[in-house]
């Protein structure tokens, strides 16, 4: 084309240049396209892998009865196969089999197949999984009577139901006639019964009487179906008592115990109260400065001097207020012997009530357990010819029916039955707490922990980040210092997260938490100097405020740029910093504060240990840069004409920010929140240091006040994945659940993000702003 144009004689001054080959971008477009494709492909692989594994784990599988050439028999769920090249030993075995005529010549060469079976029955000593080469298998069938028993402990049991037994332990006089077996008549017919002597003393003996109310696979299955509901109800009731009611009573008893200690300490506390006049003065000063603040607010027009004056007065008010609260001569003070005794009596009474309640609960549990103990089932592992025991230490007693969460006839299950079972398993997984060892039970508290942590993190990081971003963009003058701060913030995002974990543990848990628990400790300053320091602080603040008010002539007036003004401003700045430092130091060393939970120290720190609050703060720190950067960008994207329009209407700077800038940058703020949430929810390393545990004793959220327990440890999906896959004693069996849990984590992050995105879309839609 270009050539043709060039060939045409161009009249006059017009000149044409030929288009260089580099102007045609097709090769680079192809390159970019394939790079994108690569990225998309990898994302797709991850998603398919997680979803495929995660969704298939809970799908019900059939049970095979495998007979090996050695005569060994086992039941197992086929879990796939692979080809392998036999090693020497295996080759020798193949040759032997060939010679015996068990294998045909055709199979001698090349790779061979081996199958993987899930065995279960760990309490009988079986492995969780087993690889079996195809040539070892003599026969393989799917027996209709095989069942998979899901249990709360020891994983699944695969076997054949053999009998339902009603078992009773009876103490009777030693001279009663004893028969080994007899028939018991019931309305449903007669059942064989056996008796066994468990122990015998001179006059009495304890016998175990077992009545076989069902025998053989068919009858047993029927009976199991009949009794299962009641058994589960009993078990659930026991669980509820053990998991909720008993711990609640225990907590109350512990609290009462601590309360007792608190009273005892208070009774022995001889810390003298401050003089009343000092307290009166501070209280007056506090009220006066509050009134002053209101006065300044109303009297002065909005300007920097007003803000400075307000700040100075506010600090003064806070300082004096704090002192007034800590000092409070007539509220504080020690308990008299008598008062202490009254309180101790009350505590003792409450304790006895709680103790009684515990006894009642325990006896109820015992009663339930006794009834539960009667109904037993014999599920037999045909290979070992042993039934599932009630406990590993009692192999001669069959398991209780209630120990089975579900008895599944895996090979006779129809498609609908499979789907129902699959959904029920998901329901269990999502709604139940984890069992004693990883891989058992569900993940409900883990989900709760993750969600609560993420919410706490968002709630703490967003306001902080937004305020910081507003200051950086709207108030701070854009200079070298601001740039340095901005660079520092951006670099903060690159610090390895474990560093934040260390910081969180050291600063939040031990330092801040320790301070909350026990106050600054014994190394407090003597009283008078402390009070002097407060006075000094107040003076400093007032001085700085006055200086600042004087120095803050508006910048447009030429006087604002002079050297003396700059000096005054720096001096003010220095004074402010000094005052703030002093205030922190004072709070740190105050002799008046003894902590909120001192009575539990040192045995049981409350906030001075790992907990969900500190974990959230740590993650907040970690994700702060994300929020600041996103918010700053959004604020910077608000056109200056909007601000000018608002200011031109007579709005103050703050009103402009509140009503124009912040709403317009809300989508950006939410983007920051989404990013922070996504990053925080997936973070594991720092959590291991500041509060995530394998098995949290209590949930960080409760249905009763105070609803949120910031001091409690929690479970987290990320950490749970790590635990399941790599920390559990039977990691191999738990590994499939790793995928399911991963799927959940991804889903939760996705749901949180989607929620934020919907909110963002709503906001943008309502304001009609489109792309602000």
């Amino acid at each position: 084309m270009t050539g043709i144009v060039n060939d045409i004689p161009v009249p006059g001054v017009h000149q044409r240049r030929s288009t260089p080959p580099s102007a045609f971008g097709e090769p680079s477009v192809w390159l970019m396209g394939s790079a994108l494709l690569l990225c998309l492909g990898m994302v797709a692989v991850i998603i398919v892998l997680i979803a495929g594994h995660g969704f298939s784990t809970l799908w019900p599988r059939p049970v095979d009865r495998v007979t090996l050439r050695s005569g060994e028999v086992f039941l197992g769920m086929p879990m796939g196969s692979e080809t392998f090249t036999p090693n020497e030993e295996e080759q020798a075995r193949i040759n032997a089999l060939l010679k015996a005529g068990d294998l045909t010549q055709a199979d001698t060469a090349g790779p061979r197949t081996r199958y993987r079976f899930r065995l279960g029955n760990r309490d009988l000593g079986r492995d969780s999984f087993r690889w079996v080469p195809a040539y070892e298998i003599a026969s393989r069938e799917r027996p209709d009577d095989a069942v998979v028993v899901e249990r709360d402990q020891w994983g699944v049991f695969i076997g054949v139901p053999d009998a339902v037994v009603l078992r009773q332990e009876i103490e009777e006089p030693a001279n009663t006639p004893f028969v080994e077996s007899f028939e018991v008549q019931t309305p449903n017919g007669s059942h064989p019964a056996t008796q066994r002597v468990l122990s015998e003393t001179g006059e009495t003996r304890v016998i175990a009487r077992e009545v076989h109310v069902a025998q053989g696979p068919a009858e047993t299955s029927e009976k199991i179906d009949e009794l299962m509901g009641a058994a589960r109800d009993r078990r659930d009731e026991i669980d509820r008592l053990l998991r909720n009611r008993i711990p609640a009573v225990q907590d109350r008893l512990a609290e009462l115990n601590w309360a007792e200690r608190r009273v005892e300490r208070a009774a022995g506390d001889h810390d003298p109260a401050g003089p009343v006049w000092l307290w009166a003065i501070t209280t007056l000063a506090c009220l006066g400065s509050l009134a002053g603040a209101v006065g300044v607010w109303r009297a002065l027009p909005e300007s920097r001097s007003r803000s400075v004056a307000l700040l100075a007065i506010a600090v003064l008010a806070c300082g004096t207020g704090l002192h007034a609260v800590l000092e409070r001569p007539f509220l504080r003070g020690t308990l008299t012997e008598q008062q202490a005794q009254v309180r101790l009596d009350k505590i003792a009474f409450d304790s006895s009530v709680a103790e009684d309640e515990r006894e009642t609960l325990l006896s109820r549990i015992k009663d339930l357990e006794q009834r539960d103990d009667t109904v037993r089932v014999e599920i037999v592992d045909p290979g070992l010819d042993r039934f599932a025991p009630v406990a590993q230490t009692k192999p001669e007693e069959p398991m209780r029916l209630s120990q089975a969460r579900r008895v599944i006839h895996a090979n006779t299950l129809g498609p609908l039955g499979r789907v129902r079972l699959y959904l029920a398993r998901w329901g269990d997984f999502l709604s139940r707490p984890p069992g004693e060892s990883p891989g058992e039970g569900g993940v409900f508290p883990v989900i709760v922990g993750t969600v609560v942590l993420t919410m706490l993190l968002t709630v703490s990081v967003v306001p902080l980040g937004v305020i910081a971003a507003i200051y950086l963009r709207e108030y701070a003058s854009q200079g070298v210092v601001t740039s340095v701060i901005r660079i520092a913030i951006n670099n903060l995002a690159g610090v390895p997260s474990i560093v934040y974990g260390m910081f969180g543990l050291g600063f939040f848990c031990y330092t801040m938490g320790g301070y909350i628990d026990g106050g600054p400790g014994a190394a407090a300053l003597p009283r008078t100097p402390w009070w002097l320091l407060i006075a000094g602080l107040g003076g400093l603040v007032v001085l700085a405020g006055l200086l600042g008010a004087g120095a803050s002539t508006p910048g447009v007036l030429s006087g604002g740029r002079s050297l003396s003004a700059r000096l005054v401003r720096s001096a003010t700045w220095g004074l402010w910093m000094g005052a703030v430092g002093l205030a922190i130091y004072l709070a740190w060393r105050t002799p008046y504060f003894h902590g909120f939970f001192a009575e539990k120290l040192p045995e049981q720190p409350t906030f001075g240990a790992r907990g969900i609050l500190w974990a959230a703060f740590t993650l907040a720190l970690l994700t702060l840069p994300v929020v600041i950067v996103a918010t700053e960008e959004a604020i910077a994207a608000v056109p200056g004409s909007m601000r000018e329009g608002s200011l031109g209407c007579g709005a103050s700077r703050w009103q402009t920010i509140r009503r124009i800038v912040l709403p317009a940058s809300m989508p950006g703020v939410l983007t920051g929140a989404i990013l922070a949430m996504a990053r925080g929810a997936g973070e594991v390393a720092p959590l291991m240091l500041v509060g995530a545990v394998n098995l949290a004793p209590a949930s960080p959220v409760t249905a009763t006040p105070p609803f949120l327990h910031g001091d409690r440890t929690f479970m987290h999906l990320g950490f749970h994945i790590y635990n399941l896959g790599f920390q559990s004693p039977d990691a191999e069996a738990a590994r499939p659940l790793v995928w399911t849990t991963t799927l959940l984590l991804v889903a939760i992050v996705l749901v949180l993000n989607l929620a934020a995105m919907v909110i963002r879309a709503r906001l943008t839609g309502r304001r009609g702003g489109g792309g602000l």
Partner: protein, 310 residues
Amino acid sequence: MNGSNGVVSAIEPIGASEVEPKGIAEEPKPSGRKRQGSVLDAIRRGEPTKATVHPEVLTEDAVIEIEAFSLWYGSSRALFDVSMPISRGKVTALIGPSGCGKSTLLRSVNRLNDLIDGVRVDGRMLLNGAPLYAPHVDVIDLRKRLGMVFQKPNPFPMSIFENVVYPLRIDGVRKKSVLRDACERALRGAALWEEVKDRLAAPALGLSGGQQQRLCIARAIVSDPEVLLLDEPCSALDPIATQRVEELIAEISERYSVLIVTHNMQQAARVSRYTAFMYLGHLVEYGPTEAIFGNPKLRETEQYVTGRFG
């Protein structure tokens, strides 16, 4: 005051008399022929020049007095000792080539330039006799008394209704009925009511450019300001809307004083009583509109208003 010493020192020091604005040139001798010599060339060369001010403007009652006002954006100077009174209850037009400082002057009146880092001013500005740039002036209150409409329409990303009543909202007015009445009055005043009365809750950014500009005018007049500052309010409007806004200006000039920047000579001639011609940050000529457009004292002004400027 660096780098432009020559100019500053060449102008008489102000403050000798507070009443009569100085720094304004004496009326040139009525010699019959227009002053020759190129004032604009002198300005371009940075030589000291004096503004030509017709005596009529000095006899008017001034709502704003600008006295030897200079402004620097960092080290570059945008206004050079501008001195002019703005008449109360009249429309005053500012004309001049692009970049001559019209917007800067307008924005200086309600101190919007304060917000720009590095801006510095010198000289005085008085609103009803009170200095605007004194240290303890309440800028917020000042801006409430001066309604401003910007060169580019800048409605807020909220509903039409909320846009109009924004100045009342920030004053804490909450009563629905008050807000609704004020909104209707302002929208009628800005000749927008008929077009938007059925969709007051719709987002303002969905309006056309011209409608947005009239919305901004409504926003500027809703709080009943004393002076209206209009920075090329019609640059985004079609002829019909322009005519409406011009009628509006004529209407409201009975109540408000209006300072309007425009590039449209006909518009300046139509709406304004007085016209000021600016060039490169200097006031060149200031007088009654008929005089500026009919019989200006300077040839440069004549050339500019007739379009033979160069």
